[in-house]
């Protein structure tokens, strides 16, 4: 079964078969990352442009390494050093990049839908690396790969997603993906940061999705506890009184994690705010697979580039 699409814009419109194809392909790429020579000639002569309008270390580096390990030429453009500061519109930037004939454009933008707009006007494969509070599909895929690797399955698992769900594209993409694969997703956080009604927008497939009354309710008997980052850059609205108070009521510590299943795993999309949404002894503890997520991120992005940019 091929991935019959030009772009990867979100998880919402992917089928279960497409998700499994991407994850299975990523497993073979994970092996390449353990070889002595971590490079295959698959995308030789292809060009991948990383167009990042928002700050990023992990995702941009991960896409760059993924491209390079497939022998593609990767170019990074960040908004602060591009013509955006001179007032060029998003569409004009995209058309100019298209004129240089890239095979894939990876884009991160603070506006939801920005990658979709670019996908309509360029021939290159467009990969969404995070758009506003909408989707971050490669993050959800690498989370799924990490969960599947640790647990052997995704269907039937209870996954608690905790924190600033309102601003989180990671939570939305994960809610789509995990429910499609049959997991039971429970969302929790401060009530000011929970987008009630979201559960009605997600067709839960074989799984389910609900908001929990408390973080304890969400974590109890969970197989996976996924903490979301408090996005300091988006907290102008007075959603909670202070970081200290947030940490006391909604941070993941050993006591709260003890409510989950004994073999529960802890995930976080990074960068982590130590002592805010997650305590250091949990982030660095045996349950934490935060660095495995980063490792799997490279493999997932190699799979996406292979599947979307490998052809003519």
């Amino acid at each position: 079964m091929p991935l019959n699409r030009k772009d990867l814009l979100g998880i919402a419109d992917l089928s279960v078969e497409e998700i499994n194809l991407i994850l299975d392909t990523a497993v073979t790429f994970r092996d390449i990352n353990t070889r002595q020579i971590k490079k295959v000639p698959t995308l030789r002569g292809k060009t991948v442009i990383n167009l990042f309008f928002e700050a990023s270390t992990r995702t941009r580096t991960s896409f760059e390494i993924a491209g390079k390990r497939l022998s593609a030429d990767t170019i990074n453009i960040s908004a602060s050093t591009s013509s955006v500061v001179k007032g060029e519109t998003l569409v004009d930037t995209a058309l100019n990049l298209q004129a240089m004939a890239p095979d894939a454009i990876v884009i991160r933008h603070s506006s939801s839908g920005a990658p979709h707009q670019i996908a309509k006007i360029v021939k290159a494969a467009v990969i969404n690396a995070g758009d506003g509070a909408h989707e971050h599909p490669t993050q959800a895929l690498l989370d799924a790969l990490t969960i599947r690797h640790a647990k052997g399955r995704i269907g039937g698992l209870k996954v608690a997603i905790i924190g600033d769900v309102l601003h989180s594209r990671v939570a939305r993409s994960n809610a789509h993906l995990l429910t499609k694969l049959g997991a039971h997703v429970v969302l929790a956080g401060p009530r000011t940061l929970l987008p009630f009604g979201l559960e009605k927008q997600i067709p839960a497939g074989n799984g389910s999705i609900r908001f929990a009354d408390s973080i304890e309710d969400a974590i109890t008997d969970a197989d996976v506890v996924m903490m979301l980052r408090i996005q300091m850059e988006r907290q102008s609205g007075g959603f909670f009184p202070s970081l200290r108070e947030y940490s006391i009521h909604f941070g993941l510590n050993k006591r709260r994690l003890a409510l989950a299943k004994p073999d529960a795993i802890v995930l976080h999309p990074g960068p982590i705010n130590r002592g805010v949404e997650i305590d250091s002894d949990v982030a660095d503890g045996v349950s934490s697979l935060i660095l495995d997520q980063v490792e799997n991120g490279v493999a997932v992005r190699m799979a996406i580039l292979y599947l979307l940019a490998g052809g003519e």
Binding site: D31, I32, R35, Q36, P41, G311
Partner: protein
């Protein structure tokens, strides 16, 4: 795709005899079997390499080391095939430098698969030498590549297809010469 069967190239008995001969030739040519690594090329080269290893074990009592190779990421026609092929597992020992590697595949045709396999091997290390064993050589080479061990050489037209059927993938064990309808 539907096929017309034109001939039975090999029966299960023929295949068994031929694999035994290839195994004994490998033993004869490589006195230092401890340094030999049999590498099956996905998909049908993998069980064929297992068969050769089993025959060597019967003959000499030696367990020859084995590996598998998926050449998809090294193909020279990836950009022209419509769907991205599914990638199988490449499993080689950590260090292949200094080894005698015997690549095993079912059919030798254009030689492009073997070119890709050699490129992939070189990315893992510097083998002492690389040899090639195939069940069928059907001609039509597009690269200067020859096999060291050949089960059977078959004259074909370009439109004909050699179908190697193995119990691991098909219901039966035989080699057919077919043509697309």
């Amino acid at each position: 795709m539907e096929f017309t069967q034109k001939a039975v190239v090999m029966t299960a008995g023929d295949m068994n005899r031929v694999m035994a001969r290839i195994a004994s030739q490998i033993v004869e040519n490589n006195p230092d079997l401890a340094n030999v690594l049999l590498v099956g090329i996905h998909r049908r080269g993998v069980p064929l390499a297992d068969t050769i290893a089993a025959k060597i074990k019967e003959m000499d009592g030696v367990d020859v080391a084995r590996g598998t190779l998926d050449i998809t990421l090294y193909r020279d026609d990836l950009t022209t095939v419509a769907d991205r092929p599914v990638i199988n597992k490449t499993e080689l020992p950590a260090n292949i430098t200094g080894k005698t590697i015997i690549l095993v595949d079912d059919v030798l045709y254009t030689g492009r698969t073997i070119r890709a396999a050699m490129d992939e091997l070189i990315d893992f290390g510097r083998p002492r030498r690389v040899q090639l064993a195939v069940l069928i050589d059907r001609g039509w080479r597009e690269l200067p590549i020859q096999a060291d061990y050949v089960g059977k050489t078959v004259t074909t037209t370009e439109a004909e297809i050699i179908k190697v059927m193995l119990p691991e993938f098909d219901d039966t064990e035989q080699v057919l010469l077919v043509e697309q309808k």
